[in-house]
């Protein structure tokens, strides 16, 4: 089985977010980057599936050279090789185009990625990739087993779960608990450096550019109002918060 796992390199969840260049660029200074947590789960499941069924796992990142430590960590976890499309991931469509371009040539049985990245959280890349390739996509997938050329999937839906089957090839957006989160072991780390990491140039150009980033307003002070004074709450919502 040939599996492609698309991973993002994202700021650590505890990173302090700030911007430079007149609020048009994210300030990378002092920020630690990690594999997108949902992508991490997708990769872990891909490695497990490879252990069960054989095959290969390729990691794909659309990003600049500073994403390579994250890519090498994916190789340490168990991917066989990696591709980096050398460009800034400007928007979902652009990223999906790059993924689809590679996938169209390589004919993967499964294309896995996180349900969303945790930096811009659009959560649409899997759908776009599937559309560009003309194959089905499902998200968010919490359980995935393969039997022959059929995928048995459990998907989270509003208020419950859906169990379904689908034929390969598929594009899946994944989330926990699809696999146990993996820590790279020593052997994996030491073999990562010998695994191929191919850098290729992007096709086409991004369609969007960022005019300005804004941080959410700092949280205001909290006012406590006794339940018996509910009228006062309504007044405040009208006069102070101005939301009514």
């Amino acid at each position: 089985m040939k599996i492609l796992v698309c991973v993002t390199s994202v700021p650590d969840t505890t990173a302090k977010i700030s911007f430079t260049d007149g609020d048009t660029k994210f300030n990378k200074a002092g920020v630690t980057y990690i594999t997108g947590p949902y992508d991490d789960y997708a990769l872990s499941r891909a490695v497990e599936l490879k252990e069960q069924h054989g095959g290969t796992v390729t990691v794909l990142n659309v990003g600049e050279a500073d994403a390579e430590p994250v890519i090498r960590k994916c190789l340490a976890i168990g991917a066989d090789d990696a591709i980096r499309v050398n460009c800034e991931a400007t928007d979902s469509y652009f990223v999906a185009t790059q993924i689809a371009n590679i996938a169209a040539q390589e004919k993967y049985d499964l294309i896995l990625m996180g349900r969303e990245s945790i930096d811009f959280n659009s959560g649409v890349v899997h759908g776009l990739v599937a559309e560009l390739l003309g194959i089905p996509s499902l998200s968010p997938v919490m359980k995935l087993d393969i039997e022959g050329s059929t995928a048995k999937i459990t998907r989270e839906i509003e208020g419950g779960k859906e169990n379904l089957e689908a034929s390969l090839p598929l594009v899946l957006g994944c989330q926990e608990p699809i696999a146990e989160w993996k820590i790279p072991n020593m052997r994996g780390i030491m073999t990562a450096r010998t695994k191929p990491l191919k850098v290729i140039e992007p096709v086409g150009e991004g369609l969007t550019s960022t005019d300005k980033y804004e941080l959410p307003a700092p949280k205001g002070a909290c006012k406590m109002i006794l339940a018996e004074n509910a009228e006062e709450l309504i007044t405040l919502l009208k006069t102070e918060a101005k939301v009514l």
Binding site: R72, I183, N185, R187, M190
Partner: protein, 599 residues
């Protein structure tokens, strides 16, 4: 023989008399992406497997959980980092294994079990085992299939390890040694499959080491010891009653055991130093987080200067200890490489490389363990009332820290050792100490040099301070040695003072050199915080040098000699005053903003 470049341009203990160039030292910033990934694996393992179960580990009724965790660590390869690949390990260099020790250092009782297994449990076989012994045991120890313990201490033989009474007698058929005796404080005793046991054969004066498998029989043990801290670490008293050990399981030579014990402890000491750096960083993170969250007088207590002072001091001390650890670690790696290049066998090269830096190993153990004790103490204080509660994490941190000043040689023994080794090497002419001391002796009798240096560069004034600290040590050591001659080693109080002076010098110099190297790479503006740390540390080191020096000098000098030496000490511990409060605030503010260790 091929001529190779001599990488190890500095020998152990030579920091006392030589100036070191910043470009020569290794700094934690030099670790590669791969080494950082290795460290991250250790940290992730602690975060996901160990930290959520600390209570369970400490109050476990049996050793099952600890064994389970050790097995998981084994699966990840954490137990085999220092073992060569041909024996199932990963053959990492010394400084990488130091980094692994640091990253695994914050796991409380688990860290103790892990380091006892990988260190004193495994290393005697790695370094002193013959080919058969290595091939038989190392792969099992590297994978964690077998766990190891080290049986040296006895009820009446602690620091004086060679006074042990455990006996080994050859069986009539000459095939076994029959071991009888009692061992104490055996870490991992409750679940170990293999014991490194030290015993005296027949009427030998010195110890011999044996590899003893649990299944050899004749091994019984007392219940788990009840301890102040590291409660989850298995600590047993073990009895050997006619334990039959095949003669081929004698490790190294007859009466070679004490040498094994000493050399393995050298490695254990420096690794303990990096492990406590890891533990310290974790505790700083918790303390700063609490200071940020705890509100009093309408604001986070981290906004108060008194708390900022504590946070800064904690950060600076760890930054300093860390600088010294990896400097020495690289010195050891370089020495090993040189020995390998000159044709020395691998195990011997590693042992000799570490032995060369035995002084630094002992000093770093003392420094690191005392820093951790300082940090847990301030951690409790920052937590205030909650610090005293067993519900909050500082309770465990405070109790678990204390053992570090006792095991791997008490800090008193290590202080004696560090100074004693310097003296021994000076006597043998391996360190050119006496001529340097005599130079200083002359200098204090001469008119002080008031000339202002026109040298340019980074830390010109501070480097002069470091030079002077060296002179202060040489002055005190030279005079004390002259005074007491062969009786010097009985003057333990003075030796403690000298050890303190040496430790402060080594750590302050390492920190300064690390920051100098960083500045040359990143530029001064990017290293302002590190510069603050180096200067804060230097100021406190100078003060401690002055105090310890005074205490030493007044212990033996009188009259004119006393006055001249005190004047000399004053001259050698002079430093330009600076606003340390503001420097501390700058460091605290970054730590507070990051909600963790500042660097």
């Amino acid at each position: 023989m091929t001529i190779t470049a001599n990488k190890a341009s500095i020998k152990g203990g030579e920091f006392l008399i030589k100036d070191i160039d910043a470009s020569q030292i290794f700094t934690p910033e030099d670790f590669t992406e791969e080494q950082q990934m290795i460290a991250q694996t250790c940290l992730d393992f602690l975060r996901t497997e160990v930290h959520p179960r600390l209570d369970e580990i400490d109050y476990a009724k049996n050793t099952d959980l600890m064994v389970e965790l050790m097995d998981k660590a084994g699966e990840l390869g954490l137990l085999g980092t220092a073992i060569p690949e041909e024996y199932g390990g990963f053959g990492m260099n010394f400084n990488t294994s130091m980094l692994v020790a640091e990253a695994c250092g914050g796991g409380h009782s688990f860290s103790v079990a892990l380091s006892a297994h990988t260190g004193i449990g495994t290393l005697p076989i790695l370094y002193y085992g013959n080919e058969e012994q290595k091939a038989k045991y190392l792969p099992r120890l590297a994978s964690g299939e077998w766990k190891a313990a080290y049986c040296l201490t006895e009820p009446d033989a602690g620091s004086d390890a060679n006074s042990g009474k455990t006996k080994a007698v050859l069986s009539e058929d000459g095939k076994h040694y029959i071991i009888n005796g009692q061992k104490m404080w055996i870490t991992n005793g409750g679940f170990a499959d293999l014991f490194i046991v030290f015993a005296k054969i027949d009427a030998d004066k010195s110890l011999t080491a044996f590899i003893v498998e649990k299944d050899f029989g004749g091994i019984t043990m007392n219940e788990e010891e009840r301890k102040m801290g590291i409660k989850g670490s298995s600590t047993r008293q073990i009895f050997f009653n006619d334990c039959k050990v095949p003669v081929e399981n004698q490790l190294y030579t007859r009466e070679g055991g004490f040498k094994i014990a000493v050399n393995i402890l050298n490695i254990g000491r420096i690794k303990l130093a990096s492990a406590v750096v890891g533990a310290s960083k974790g505790i700083i993170g918790k303390a700063v987080n609490y200071a940020n969250e705890r509100k009093q007088f309408g604001t986070s207590i981290s906004n108060f200067g008194a708390i900022k002072h504590k946070i800064a001091e904690m950060n600076v001390k760890v930054f300093a200890s860390e600088s010294a650890c990896y400097r020495a670690g690289q010195n050891i790696d370089d020495a090993i490489e040189d020995l390998l290049a000159s044709g020395v066998e691998s195990s011997q090269a590693k042992l000799k490389g570490v032995e060369q830096f035995a002084i630094e190993c002992a000093m770093l153990k003392v420094h690191g363990s005392e820093i951790l004790d300082f940090i847990v103490d301030e951690g409790v204080q920052i937590y205030g009332g909650m610090g005293f509660s067993a519900e909050a994490p500082m309770d465990r941190a405070y109790r678990d820290s204390r053992i570090n000043r006792i095991f791997e040689g008490t800090n008193e023994i290590n202080r004696l050792l560090s100074v004693g080794t310097v003296v021994k090497r000076a006597m043998k002419g391996e360190i050119n100490l006496m001529p340097a001391a005599m130079e200083v002796g002359k200098e204090i009798m001469a008119i002080p040099d008031f000339s202002i240096s026109d040298e340019e560069g980074i830390f010109v004034a501070e480097k002069k301070v470091i030079k002077n600290m060296k002179k202060a040590i040489l002055m005190v050591a030279g005079a004390a040695l002259q005074k007491f001659m062969m009786k010097f080693e009985q003057e333990q109080e003075i030796i403690m003072n000298l050890a303190d002076m040496m430790i402060e010098l080594y750590v302050a110099e390492s920190t300064l050199l690390r920051v100098e190297k960083l500045i040359t790479v990143r530029g001064e503006a990017a290293c302002a915080l590190q510069k603050d740390a180096a200067l804060i540390y230097l100021h406190s080191a100078v003060e401690k040098t002055n105090n310890a020096g005074k205490s030493a000098i007044t212990s033996f000098a009188e009259g004119d000699e006393l006055r001249v030496m005190l004047m000399g000490l004053k001259r050698f511990t002079k430093i330009e005053p600076m606003n340390l409060k503001d420097a501390r605030r700058r460091i605290a503010e970054v730590s507070i903003e990051k909600n963790s260790y500042a660097f």
